[in-house]
Symmetry: C2
Subunit: 81 residues, 2 copies
């Protein structure tokens, strides 16, 4: 079973990395880039086959380690494969 965890900054939190990416792309001639946001995607391989129970555990993993919930949001996608 797999879990995909998408972690990104909450709206309103300064994103210097995103700004740097946007500015660099503009400097490279990609003027159509108005803004950029950078986040993380973490792919977890999990044992077991109960998707619901596993998702609840992945929420715990996010709250404890994978996301800094003060400044970050996270979204979880579970995959049975």
């Amino acid at each position: 079973m797999k879990a995909l965890v998408y972690v990104g900054l909450k709206p309103g939190v300064l994103d210097p990395q995103g700004r740097t990416i946007a500015r660099s792309l503009n400097d490279l001639g990609f003027g159509e880039v108005e803004s950029a946001l950078q986040g993380k995607v973490i792919e977890l391989d999990l044992t077991g086959d109960d998707l619901t129970a596993a998702e609840a555990r992945v929420v715990e993993m996010c709250e404890k380690l994978l996301a800094n919930t003060v400044i970050e949001n996270y979204r979880i996608e579970m995959r049975a494969e």
Copy 2:
């Protein structure tokens, strides 16, 4: 218009970050985690409304800046909103 760029390490490339995540989760009591991979997701806000032309440009952006194509793969999702 938005482009979502997913950048991850190519199979076989050492992923120390992913290993550290998996080991830390195991140490926190999440024994069901067998392995972890960490990648980036970059969300770009783009002007214009031609999705096909824009996607070709985003490929160029990946090849020039967003991905290190020696060790990384990338995947692009275009969104008209």
